[in-house]
Amino acid sequence: MHELSIIAGLFDTLQEEARTHKAREITFVKLIVGKLSGVVPDLLESAFEAYKKGTIAERARLEIEEAPMKTRCRACGAEVRKEDFDIICAACGSKDLEILQGTELVLERIELESDEPESPGSP
């Protein structure tokens, strides 16, 4: 259950983004969670809901996109979406696979509301 530590880190980033862009409120947060990222989307969601109270993202809607595991075979070049975690190429049997996707845990984008227009070049 390390989802709460991850959400705590997420809120540090959200505060920073809000400051940088002079936001009065963050209204939307989108995360990408790889199937092999080691975190559970449902638990992330609960942690987000518990954590957001009293913060700049209090009314924010959270969207989580789950990213499947995708691999490329270094021997035959086959790119596949994997439903299990076995590192073996279904096309040629090679075990030399590169993981293209599925381990990520990323804050992809946010939507915010600010009072003033962004002045170019401001920090």
Partner: protein, 223 residues
Amino acid sequence: MKKKELIVLHDLLGTNKKIAATIRGELGGRGILAVNLMSSPGAGKTSLLERVAERLQATAKIAVIEGDIETERDAERIRAIGVPAWQITTGGACHLEAKMIGKILPGVDAGIDFLFIENVGNLVCPASYELGEHIRCVLLSTPEGDDKPKKYPKAFTTSDCLVLTKADLLPYLPFDVEKVKKEALGLNPRLKIFLTSAVTGLGVDDLIGYFRSARQELKDRHA
């Protein structure tokens, strides 16, 4: 009121990864091999470390960082065999993070050869946090059952070596060593696998040999 959409693309574990990379580089530059030991509680991390440390300290300088939710017990066990040990008590957190290691390191003798970090007992969460280790070991004890690799894939896919512990209990348990090896290698073909017992000492020298050659490779890389 202005509405605005921002593409952020921020790695949520990025801060931990950065700290871990700094630690890995600093230790590597000093010729110190860092090993992160992960397993469920009671798999025998401390007992294995005791056997490794007892034998390894004759020819190498080592230090140990122990992670637990509460108590100094593990650090005390390691100190009892004459090896310096630091205890991190997380007070509830289910894993160690790189910044916790970073806080301990200034107090650790810079002239050591090996740093062993025993993670909090948990086969899930520690796998998501690099600590600056060069070698990640996952332990699986025979009483836990031979079906674990596929049930807890991340611990196995992110590790460099799998240490099967409590091999002395094999005669009493329906634990199929070959099945585990096959399943674990399916998840991670690069995994080095050791069958050990802290009671009989089986496999301990092989594991030490593996750590020694990993340290030599590390030194060659930094030479």
